[in-house]
Symmetry: C2
Subunit: 407 residues, 2 copies
């Protein structure tokens, strides 16, 4: 008997039939004697329908009222799922974010959870009920309705799991786990059984879209074992947990990539303090996010080359800004390229094993892939390469590190 928090996303509850399927799944856990708290999103399509209504009313719907509106999406799902559970003989009670006091700050549309009062949920669980909670929403200290922004339901589930000290937080989605890389690029990609929070965070921020970064951070902070599973098929999914439980793991957990990169290089900048700030300051002011940043001392010892990458959509604007800045600094020239991608190896094994970088570079060189930029952190190595080599690079690295075999 375990205490489990389960989260079902919009696709998993996207129709009356799917809600019924979720109810059956939950009923099985309940019949096995598990205590189950279910967190649900709005039915797929519903949030967009509500946003459309808001936009028809006002070009700039005020944030407080947008949250009042959007919060109805999950409220519909919790009611329907609870009805379905009753139909299948399971006593269930639904709660909105406010009703179980999911206290957040007052940043409407992107609030952060501060506290959860779990008394009511614990009482229901001890009385044998399944508890169904609306994801994505909470209430600020003045009782205003708030929402958590993108992927908020994952965060609700993890926060509830932390508050209840649940044995596991299960995220049911439309894929059956986290893969060594995107199976659409490398058909030999393998589902990972276990991965550490740190690796998952790197994978997520590097482009793997299974889980929202915030929910993984939250799980890591409160040591909540997180499992990603398919809501449509059976299977054990991928467990995301603390590192010491995953010691037997391979050197490399997986390969993440990001297609939307563009690169800007300022060549021959006078090598003096404040260069990076002079270039990045104006980019930041324009609300453009910078990803990789690299600075090399030039061959002459007096100038330096400075490179950064931005999202491809921001490329033109960033280029214009950097060209203006470069002129003012007396830089030699500005080179840009909006056809690059970033490929990253992620794995805690890197910490204790040398030679991973060289294996990586060797594999890429063998295929004639030129590396345009390199950036490393404790548990990842990222390279920027020409867009056209993305699939080839991913497949050759997948094979070079033997990721298709079970660790």
């Amino acid at each position: 008997m375990a205490l489990i928090v389960q989260k079902y996303g919009g696709t998993s509850v996207g129709s009356v039939e799917r809600i019924d399927a979720v109810a059956k799944k939950v009923a099985k856990f309940h019949q096995n004697g598990d205590q189950v708290v279910v967190v649900v999103s709005a039915m797929s399509g519903e949030t967009n329908r509500l946003l459309d209504l808001a936009r028809q009313v006002s070009d700039q719907p005020i944030p407080r009222e947008l949250d009042v509106l959007l919060a109805t999406g999950e409220q519909v799902t919790i009611a329907l799922l609870s009805m379905a559970l009753h139909k299948h003989g399971v006593e269930a009670r639904s709660y909105t974010g406010s009703q179980v006091h999911i206290l957040t700050d007052d940043a409407f549309n992107k609030a952060r959870i501060q506290e959860i009062d779990d008394a009511r949920i614990r009482r229901d669980l001890s009385e044998g009920r399944v508890v169904v909670v609306a994801g994505f929403q909470g209430t600020d200290k003045d009782g205003n309705i708030t929402t958590l922004g993108r992927g908020g339901s994952d965060t609700t589930a993890v926060a509830l799991a932390a508050a209840l000290k649940s044995d596991e937080c299960q995220i049911y989605t439309d894929v059956d786990g986290v893969y060594t890389t995107d199976p659409r690029v490398e058909s030999k990609a393998r589902r990972i059984d276990r991965i550490s929070y740190e690796e998952m965070l790197e994978m997520a921020s590097l482009g793997a879209k299974v889980l929202q970064i915030r929910s993984v951070e939250f799980a890591s902070k409160y040591s909540v074992p997180l499992r990603v599973l398919s809501s449509f098929e059976d299977g054990s999914g991928t467990l995301i947990c603390a590192e010491d439980e995953t010691m037997e793991q391979a050197l490399i957990a997986g390969i993440a990539f990001n297609r939307d990169e563009a690169k800007l290089t300022v060549v021959g900048v006078p090598d003096q303090p404040g260069v990076a700030h002079s270039i990045l300051g104006p980019i930041g002011k324009a609300n453009i996010e910078v990803d990789m940043i690299i600075q090399n001392t030039g061959a002459d010892g007096k100038t330096t080359d400075f490179t950064c990458t931005v999202h491809r959509n921001d490329y033109k604007q960033a280029l214009a800004i950097v060209q203006k800045v470069a002129e003012g600094m007396g830089a030699r020239s500005v080179i840009g390229d909006d056809k690059i991608v970033k490929v990253s190896l992620v794995g805690v094994g890197m910490r204790s094993h040398a030679g991973i970088a060289s294996t990586m570079f060797e594999a890429l060189a063998k295929e004639g892939i030129n590396i345009r930029m390199i950036s490393t952190s404790e548990i990842k190595i990222s390279v920027a390469i020409d867009e056209k080599y993305l699939e080839l690079a991913v497949r050759s690295l997948h094979s070079a590190f033997g990721l298709e075999q079970q660790a």
Copy 2:
């Protein structure tokens, strides 16, 4: 400057355009310096959409969860209306029933309001905001979401008006007031300027559908001046208030009628104590509501004739029950008729003026309309007549009492 509670029903907020029109109307009051609290229903069609979803999930959706589901309907409207008000330059805040502590009992789907905490609303009003409250919903003492049942939004508005001691509670609807009778039957029907709570209650329970009986009872109990207005046209509507303010009123306020009556008569029942109970008991047990009840001593002094009316839909079932009972009692026979209607004159003037009944009967006799039953109360006279005479009866009474002229 006044404190006004305004209620807009489902048709008045049935589309984004109509919500915008309501916002403009409210903005005008706000700009005139009035303090305005707006109560809204779900957009027309929305409640049915939600009910459909519930029925697809379960044949018998449990009441608690049905309320969680239905309450989202009004929540959508309050958010959209507040956005629209902001667009028109009016600061507004929306609140669900729970947020302003509309405390009800725990009778899900048909809860009754027990208490309202108006502190938050008063604060907003004093800070110059318009307050938008979700009608039809509240919360029980355990924090469960409840709904008030049919016409619940009217009740919310009146209850808020009572709690806030507002100067007026305005019910905006698709008609421009209460009429002396249904204008579809008598084109000379006249909008009533003022009517007493008592008369309105009789009119409402006798078939006039403008206002829900509960909200009028509530307004009467707490002496809230209630005004029925059109949300689409300008005009002063009908004011429903205490009797002493309407002294100059005509003898008769209006003519109500009900098309859905059916009549059952038990002829020749032995005249002894308990007759009424023996007949009505089994009907009540079958959950059939009885409207008019009349008992006459028969000509022989030993038997009596007992007649009651029921809704036409219940006629067949009621007839079967009564036939069985009549047999057991040794009654002579049972006569039934499901083609009758009830026409009623309503007016507080009846109390002090004799002769109203005779004028009524005279007018009907002139047209050759046979009266099948008569029933009276302090401020109304009802007659049951053949269905085919309904329109003729209404028009002849309307003219006989001069209702087409201003009082």
